[in-house]
């Protein structure tokens, strides 16, 4: 197989790095937009790991799962953005901590 041959370890390292960055963002961010973006980063980190693993063993499964993740991410963004709009309307802010009570 021609072309750039990046070792699997490196890709997994990048993937882990991305996942960690996303998780950190999830944990420390208060803005709901940034939380959603962190989630996207985590999803993509996982997808990258799948693709890399699929390429390494020459199996199609990795790419199929990547497609699934893409779809799930799209659906998630659709729902997530809807929620963002609702939060913005109700609380007049995007701070997630202001929505810490059950009663709106």
């Amino acid at each position: 197989m021609e072309g750039l041959n990046i070792p699997l370890n490196h890709i997994l390292l990048v993937s882990t790095l991305l996942f960690s960055i996303g998780m950190l963002g999830l944990m420390i961010r208060r803005n709901i937009i940034f939380i959603l973006m962190s989630l996207e980063v985590m999803l993509n980190a996982a997808a990258l790991a799948f693709v890399a693993a699929g390429a390494h063993w020459g199996q199609p499964d990795g790419q199929i799962i990547f497609m699934l993740i893409l779809t799930v991410a799209a659906a998630e963004v659709a729902v997530g953005l809807g929620l963002v709009l609702q939060v913005q309307r109700r609380f007049k802010t995007l701070d997630m901590d202001s929505a810490d009570r059950m009663r709106g």
């Binding site: 998780m23 999830l26 944990m27 420390i28 961010r29 208060r30 939380i35 997630m96 901590d97 929505a99 810490d100 009570r101 059950m102």
Partner: protein, 615 residues
């Protein structure tokens, strides 16, 4: 005429019901009239039936209807009438009538006039049921009926909580005996198949031998009931406290009739007791121990009613002694004479208490001889009979008991000696009462002297207490013939002279003061003995420590339901954890995420610790 005996308990019962229903509407005169006349009618009926019976002394049985029918068990509402029943009925209705009459004056100003007579009539009805019953179950009904009436009347002035306490004590302590008696009835029924007294005696005679174990157990259980009701050791503690009730009640229930029910029960089931000589001996010993204990206690009391209460306990002890040595007739005879003179004494004390502003302490009385002559003579005659001075009624009955006790082989002379000591003490304490209350200087002025409704019963009872000893009670058919042997003459002379010595001692100590016992009393031994006897030999104290307090402590512990504490602990643990976890539910997403992440890291770390080959 004899077919009419069912009317005797019915009339007081109906009157009682009428008084309960009409307590708010009936005028006071009518209430008194109804209460007295119903018992009076019962007394007249008893007299008529009695005269007919004496002309033709044939015991008879009258079944009104079958009470209940359960398998082989069909007790009837049935009456049995013989000489013993007649004696008991005469005492109950006769003395009862006089006490009712006395009550109309004694209770005149009481707000609960109708309630008083309703209870008193109900008591008479229940007591008549007890002595007329043909089977032990109906007897038990009457037995419990008088117990309830006693409870109601002891606690008659229920606004004072001490009276309620005394009533509950009377009820609970007699209940202990009643439980034993109920067990005895069950045993008798399972073994003999019937509770009809006459049939039962026959069956017992056929099935059991003298000295068998079953009749002994049955007799001891019946004795338990008798001991509770008749205030004998060890269940006597309720009677002194029962003096909280109105004084005529003490005269009727706690001296003349109800407390002698135990004596009646043993006399009625004499066939059974004859099969168990050991039980007879126990009856005699219980009687002896009780009469001595109560006599010593009576010597120290200062409350006029408590003196009489302990003397009642002591005299019933004599009756038990008589029953125990097989002197059935003497026991019942003493029951009758005791009913006369003790009712007289109680009514006399009632008159004193009534006209002396409810004063009970004999040392605050004194010099009443000239102020209340009727009461004085009542007390003189009553005390003479109680002390068994010659020619009074008590002399004849007590003398018979002592002599027959002496004739018992082996233990006889000892029982006689104990009885004699009791007689000496009886004479001392009864005349101590007379000398302290009626002689000496007056300390409290009475409001007046007795009216005719108080004086008439006193005078009539005086007569009975004097001549009652000459009555011949028609119980020869009921009991096995007593031995006709007579003890040596010196025994009789000693028995007669001992009460006179007691009178003399009492005179020297409490009236003339020639015999000074102050040094004896004031010595440290004398003081502690005094306190010991005053408290009734510390038996109340003992029961308080052994039964009452541990029970209170146990129930105090149980009040907090210690077993529930285990389940309470489980609940508390769950609630604590719930509380801790509820704190962590902040609603902040970032915290949730962080905790998930750290949890995940933790789980992964732990999972990596497990060696690969173990997976």
């Amino acid at each position: 005429m004899v077919d009419m005996i069912w009317l005797v308990p019915l009339i007081p019962l109906l009157s009682s019901i009428l008084l309960m229903l009409g307590s708010a509407t009936l005028p006071r005169v009518l209430i008194g009239l109804l209460g007295v006349c119903s018992v009076g009618a019962a007394a007249v009926l008893t007299l008529l039936v009695g005269l007919e019976f004496l002309a033709n002394p044939q015991p008879f049985q009258l079944t009104l209807w079958t009470w209940m029918q359960v398998g082989d068990f069909s007790p009837g509402i049935a009456f049995y009438f013989d000489g013993l029943t007649l004696v008991m009925m005469s005492v109950i209705t006769g003395v009862g009538f006089l006490i009712h009459l006395f009550s109309t004056e004694f209770m005149e100003e009481d707000a609960s006039y109708a309630r008083y007579f309703a209870y008193l009539n109900m008591f008479v009805a229940a007591m008549l049921m007890l002595v007329m019953a043909d089977n032990l179950l109906l007897l038990y009904l009457g037995w419990e009926g008088v117990g309830v009436c006693s409870y109601l009347l002891v606690g008659f002035w229920y606004q004072n909580s001490a009276n309620g306490q005394a009533a509950r004590k009377a009820f609970v302590v007699t209940r202990i005996g009643d439980t034993a008696m109920a067990l005895g009835l069950l045993l008798l029924f399972t073994e003999l198949g019937t509770l009809d007294i006459q049939a039962m005696m026959g069956a017992a005679d056929q099935q059991w031998q003298v000295g068998d174990r079953l009749p002994l157990i049955a007799c001891l259980l019946l004795l338990g009931g008798a001991v509770g009701k008749s205030a004998q050791l060890p269940l006597h503690t309720w009677l002194p406290d029962a003096m909280a009730g109105p004084t005529p009640v003490s005269a009727l229930i706690h001296a003349a009739t109800m407390v002698t029910a135990g004596v009646y029960l043993i006399a009625r089931t004499n066939g059974l007791f004859l099969l168990a000589p050991t039980a007879m001996m126990i009856v005699a010993l219980v009687g002896l121990a009780t009469l001595l204990m109560a006599a010593f206690t009576a010597l120290m009391q200062s409350d006029i009613k408590r003196i009489l209460a302990y003397s009642t306990i002591s005299q019933i002890g004599y009756m038990f002694l008589a029953l125990g040595v097989g002197a059935w007739t003497a026991g019942i005879f003493h029951l009758m004479t005791h009913a006369f003179f003790k009712a007289l004494l109680f009514l006399g004390s009632g008159a004193i208490i009534h006209y002396l502003h409810h004063e009970h302490d004999i040392f605050k009385m004194g010099g009443l001889r000239s102020k209340m002559p009727v009461t004085f003579w009542s007390f003189m005659i009553g005390s003479a009979a109680l002390a068994a001075l010659p020619m009074t009624s008590g002399f004849f009955s007590k003398d018979q008991i002592l002599l027959q006790a002496y004739m018992l082989p082996e233990a006889g002379p000892w029982l006689w000696l104990g009885g004699l000591l009791g007689a000496l003490l009886t004479a001392i304490y009864s005349f101590r009462l007379v000398f302290v209350v009626f002689f000496g200087e007056a300390k409290t002025q009475p409001d007046g002297d007795t009216g005719w409704r108080m004086a008439l019963p006193l005078v009539l009872l005086c007569g009975l207490a004097m001549v009652g000893g000459y009555f011949i009670i028609p119980v020869a058919e009921v009991f096995p013939a007593a031995s006709t042997e007579h003890p040596a003459h010196w025994v009789e002379y000693v028995s007669i002279s001992v009460p006179l010595i007691g009178l003399l001692l009492s005179y020297l100590i409490f009236h003339s003061g020639q015999l000074n016992v102050d040094r004896l009393v004031n010595s440290s031994l004398g003081q502690s003995l005094r306190r010991f006897w005053f408290s009734g030999w510390g038996i109340d104290w003992l029961y308080d420590r052994v039964f009452v307090r541990p029970y209170y402590r146990l129930s105090g512990t149980m009040l907090n339901e210690p077993i529930d504490a285990i389940y309470g602990l489980i609940v508390a643990i769950n609630q604590t954890f719930n509380h801790w976890l509820a704190v962590s539910q902040t609603g902040r997403m970032r915290w949730y995420v962080a905790s998930m992440v750290f949890g995940l890291i933790l789980v992964l770390t732990l999972a990596l610790q497990i060696p690969a080959e173990a997976l």
